[in-house]
Symmetry: C2
Subunit: 141 residues, 2 copies
């Protein structure tokens, strides 16, 4: 029940918020831009304004329900926060996005930050490249 999740996050349960949350939970695409969320909702016949999509996603981010990533070229995408931090590998050719986590890298980062007297808030590692999938050309994620 999504309305419970919203309440837990300190957000009033409203129709647009439910719709966005459901979409993020059920879409095959894990990583979506605000525009994609908006279009997907329109296609489902849900009449939610673009401004609301941005507002809701920003609120979700502040509430920790979603994470936002700023990729190269100003592209920014949202993904459901499912508790486990991870980094990203992006195919610059087909747009596919893969996730990975590496404990060695994580701990090195903590060591570096400590050595430099930094209190880490957040960190992100993006690897850009070309994937070897046969369906590379036209897929999206």
């Amino acid at each position: 029940m999504e309305s419970q999740d919203l309440k837990k996050a300190g957000l009033k349960s409203t129709l647009p918020r439910m719709r966005v949350l459901q979409l993020l939970e059920n879409s095959e695409k894990r990583h979506m831009t605000a525009e994609e969320v908006y279009k997907a909702l329109m296609e489902c016949g849900e009449d939610v304004g673009l401004a609301t999509v941005y507002r809701v996603l920003t609120q979700f981010e502040a509430a920790g329900l979603v994470n936002r990533h700023y990729f190269e070229g100003g592209l920014s995408v949202f993904e459901l926060n499912q508790g486990h931090h991870h980094d990203h590998l992006l195919c610059v050719k087909c747009g596919k996005i893969f996730e990975f986590i590496d404990d060695t890298i994580e701990s090195r980062q903590r060591q570096i930050a400590e050595k430099m007297g930094f209190a880490i808030n957040d960190h992100c590692l993006y690897i850009y490249g070309v994937c070897q999938k046969q369906n590379c050309e036209h897929n999206q994620d």
Copy 2:
């Protein structure tokens, strides 16, 4: 002589390009936004249009003379490419930007990409946090 550098990069040597390149080489700030480059040139009495600054920086990036980084919040900065790759540590409080390089992380990244069948183009690691400098509040870099 900067005009040689431009020619080597396949770019015609023009006044605005020279000015931008000189600025990046001589400024204390290693990381500058397009706006900052523009303002700095204006202050030096150099009459270069903002559109030209963007165009020149984009050309420099394509030519490998500078690197561009897209930080959180849509902030994007340019830095002179001095041959050695490095990652970034950003203070979210004072805006200071530190650079670091860690061979362990670098090689782990290559391993991960290989395992996932990726040909790496580029990668970037950003650590966001709060630095412990006494002058943290108001400095900029």
